[in-house]
Point group: C2
Chain length 158, copies 2
């Protein structure tokens, strides 16, 4: 990994209030048929998702691009607090096997804001400054905001 | 990390039957006052230990060498199945913050062999071949065997 000390600059954060209740956002994050519908910004789409919602359980998505790109992402859940907190990483495969494609930890916090809205804080935490910069250049802010828009829109239909 | 695919050669394994029941070995692994007494081969000793036994909970040890060396190790538990399985890693600090000193995942399995003995399988799983080789050269086999001897001897006194 790196010899540098962890620094806040290794963390990218999305912090928004979404116009949907926590319970519906939680469903969108944890049901494979729902996560497929919002998890990556259109015109990309998730064609397959597997969710085993427990520490060490599998979190798999297969993203498909408009020109035939296929990007599989295999990781695990680190922590699950229903309707409050989800933590995932691609640093392990199921069975806690270290994964050669480790890139980040994603931490998503949900907190009610009244009955119909939710404070939604999603953090991408990286092992290295290079990984964080690469993620930012890949369009972290635009991408995670667009996905959150899709998440909010889907939750409203439930 | 590395671009190489994970390979079984990244894993170092200790597989023994210890002459103590599972419950006593579990106590030795999970109580700070006990883990201090066996966790590193003498003449090294652990002067401080903190154990927060849940996924994401802190696992901290401070090892002291005979010439005044001090080696702190800060990590977290990934999975806890009482008297069956413990998984820890130094890849995170508490709060799932990526840790710049990430080196390995340690998986320890306990299974009863009759009433007074336990099959004890401890695996060190590394992200890279270099880390695995470095661990082997540091004396993984001698060190983990010597610690297991100390663990067995301590458990017998409980």
């Amino acid at each position: 990994m790196t010899s540098k000390t962890l620094d806040p600059k290794f963390v990218l954060t999305l912090d928004r209030v979404l116009a949907a209740p926590v319970a519906k956002l939680w469903r969108c994050w944890t049901e494979p048929d729902l996560i497929r519908q919002w998890f990556c910004p259109k015109p990309w789409l998730v064609s397959e998702a597997r969710i085993d919602l427990r520490p060490g359980g599998e979190f798999y998505t297969l993203m498909n691009g408009p020109d035939g790109e296929r990007i599989p992402s295999l990781g695990v859940f680190l922590e699950v607090q229903p309707e409050r907190l989800l933590v995932t990483t691609d640093a392990f495969r199921p069975g806690w096997r270290p994964n050669d494609q480790a890139f980040m930890v994603a931490e998503v916090r949900f907190a009610p804001e009244g009955e119909a809205s939710t404070r939604y804080i999603a953090r991408a935490m990286h092992w290295t400054e290079d990984a964080m910069r690469q993620h930012e250049e890949m369009g972290f802010h635009e991408g995670w905001n667009a996905a959150a828009d899709q998440l909010e829109a889907l939750a409203k239909t439930l």
